[in-house]
């Protein structure tokens, strides 16, 4: 079966390079509760920024995250190794669906929230889930983030992946329009494979194409 999805609107934010983090995610304006704001992970901050930009807090939410909350996971591992106390906040924030949950709390969204994590195929898997759920919902918010820029990453990772922070948000709906976007994407240097995939879609959207064919 083939399901066509129309991209209705997009938002993107990224760091200038992999030596620094995204500087302004507008947290004070988006999250009024100071305690909640202080606890937000980087993925959550980026996701909240994108949901706000797209005015999409009330939509069903699908978050795609290749690596999850690696910085919080590292904090837990380091604490165990050093026989220190594991931070309860680090533990609750290490769960992959933390960003989706924070969006639902901030936006008082009691509907569908899901988090997908399929390494390099994360963006495509998130699009597939959006296609599956497009039978139940008119519009769906998809957010793909990478946020693994912390100093000790090399201690728990031997591979030379990019640390560049980046996030992309899309609002999509099912359509009968003919596909115009090529989902066999060319890799874009400097980003994770999953982020490269979704950025490729964004580039085609910027050229006036908006319909993706998801082939099951």
């Amino acid at each position: 079966m083939k399901i066509n999805l129309e991209i209705l609107r997009v938002a993107k934010i990224e760091a200038n390079d992999d030596t620094e983090k995204i500087s302004d995610l507008n947290e004070k304006s988006i999250v009024a509760d100071m305690m909640l704001r202080r606890r937000l992970t980087r993925n959550s901050r980026i996701s909240l920024y994108l949901a706000d930009k797209l005015n999409a807090f009330s939509l069903p939410i699908i978050i795609g995250n290749s690596y999850g909350e690696v910085a919080e996971t590292y904090d837990i591992l380091r604490a165990i190794k050093n026989r220190q106390t594991v931070s309860p906040t680090a533990f609750q924030n290490s769960v992959h669906n933390t960003p989706a949950s924070y969006i639902s709390i901030v936006g008082e969204n009691k509907g569908y929230i899901a988090t997908i994590s399929d390494s390099s195929d994360t963006s495509l898997a998130a699009l597939r889930l959006a296609a599956i759920k497009s039978f139940s919902y008119d519009e769906i918010l998809i957010i793909i983030t990478d946020a693994i820029n912390f100093d000790q990453l090399s201690e728990i990772n031997k591979c030379n992946i990019t640390k560049k922070e980046c996030g992309v948000g899309l609002v999509i709906r099912q359509t009968t329009k003919e596909p115009t976007i090529n989902i066999t994407m060319d890799k874009i240097e400097g980003y994770s494979p999953s982020m490269s995939d979704i950025l490729s879609l964004l580039n085609q959207f910027a050229s006036g194409n908006s319909v993706i064919e998801i082939d099951f």
Binding site: M1, I3, R39, S66, Y67, G68, V70, T73, I76, L77, A79, I80, K81, R83, V86, S87, P88, F91, Q92, N93, S94, V95, H96, N97, T98, S101, Y102, S104, I105, G107, E108, N109, K110, G111, Y112, I113, A114, T115, I116, S117, D118, S119, S120, D121, T122, A125, R128, L129, A131, I132, K133, F135, S136, I148, E155, I156, N157, K158, C159, F216
Partner: protein, 366 residues
């Protein structure tokens, strides 16, 4: 289009196959044992799978068992959906905690998606989608699989729920103050928390009805939008998920003969789940928490407990909650109970406020 559970397999502390797990549930003895080495200087009650096999090999074995029971199974025409909350975490733990540096482990191997990518490769599934939504992970897979099959997107979906015991999870739950240092007592007035466990469950769902199959009638999901670790105090999200599952199933609350509760054994979950159940079902429904025997298998629990519901429907025997001295609800059963029933409802609630309810039952005639 009907969605049928044609075969299933699983393993957890209570047994190396689903039949043994069900017998352990009916025996009324906890499968959780005390283990050293997860938290410094404390022996913790944990549910470990009684096998020395590598966890990913156990997942592979369980997929083989489940698909072997399915006639004309074609992996190329089948979607793999994986639900896991820790994924490859234990690989990283072993290396990092031994040496303070991971020189072999890739971030990809730490990833939750490592289970899906390895099993897709081994079996040739058309593609994998991996959910990581804490304790609702594999229930969310069933919800999406239900949509895929009922909407004609795919004829066949294999759902895998899998989570391995990790020191990170055991320490994390302990520091949150919700890991019990005794055997867990869901729905008991003196309950102290969860027994963390590991588990694997594999469900083969399709649009074809086979002999002895069960039917998935409907799923409901919701979000509390309340707190990352604490459920909504009035159980609004849980009620909404159960209501949605009933509506999708075209059933009334009185049709449900048994609820396999999320029943983690934490003070908050059990009190609020009982409130939510009583708001929707009154005092007429029978509930139990099989986590009292298996422990809490985290992201695997949704799929594992659907397999347990299927066994229960097949045998027409309800598995009990154990370790209860003072029940907090009259609905909880503490002994194996023979009962004629057609429909069961299984709940899974998770960190972040995600709620999932699934109705499973004997298949309709037509």
């Amino acid at each position: 289009m009907g969605v049928y559970l044609n075969s299933y397999s699983g393993c957890c502390a209570a047994g190396l196959n689903i039949e043994d797990i069900f017998q352990t549930l009916l025996s009324g003895t906890s499968a959780v044992k005390f283990h050293d080495g997860y938290i410094d200087d404390i022996s913790m009650p944990l549910g470990k799978i009684p096998s020395d096999d590598y966890f990913y090999d156990l997942i592979e074995q369980n997929i083989r068992v489940a698909i072997a029971k399915t006639a004309d199974f074609d992996p190329l025409a089948t979607t793999l959906m994986v639900g896991s909350s820790v994924g490859g975490m234990c690989r990283v733990e072993k290396e990092y905690l031994a040496s303070g540096k991971c020189v072999k482990t890739l971030v990809e191997e730490l990833s939750i998606g490592s289970i899906g990518s390895e099993m897709k490769e081994k079996f040739g599934f058309s593609y994998a989608i991996t959910f990581s939504t804490a304790c609702t992970s594999s229930s969310m897979c069933i919800d999406a699989a239900y949509d895929m099959i009922s909407n004609g997107i795919s004829n066949s979906v294999v759902v895998v729920g899998a989570d391995e015991l990790s020191r990170s999870a055991v320490n994390g739950f302990d520091k949150l103050g919700i890991a019990s240092h005794e055997l867990t007592k869901p729905f008991c007035a003196t309950r102290e928390g969860i027994n963390i466990s590991e588990g694997i469950a594999v469900l083969v769902l399709s649009n074809k009805k086979s002999d002895g199959c069960m039917q998935i009638y409907g799923c409901g999901t919701s979000s509390d939008a309340y707190n990352i670790t604490h459920p909504h105090p009035e159980g609004n999200g849980a009620v909404e998920a159960m209501e949605k599952a009933l509506i999708k199933s075209s059933l009334n609350p009185s049709d449900i003969g048994y609820i396999n509760a999320h029943g983690t054994g934490t003070v908050a979950n059990d009190e609020i789940e009982c409130l939510a159940i009583s708001r929707l079902f009154g005092d007429d429904v029978v509930i139990s928490s099989t986590k009292s025997v298996t422990g809490h298998t985290l992201g695997a629990c949704g799929a594992l407990e659907i397999a347990i519901c299927a066994m229960s429907l097949d045998a027409q025997i309800l598995p009990p909650s154990i370790n209860i001295t003072t029940p907090i609800s009259r609905n909880v059963i503490t002994k194996p109970t023979k009962k004629e029933f057609k429909y069961a409802l299984s709940n899974a609630f998770g960190f972040g406020g995600g709620n999932t309810s699934i109705v499973i039952g004997l298949p309709n005639e037509n």
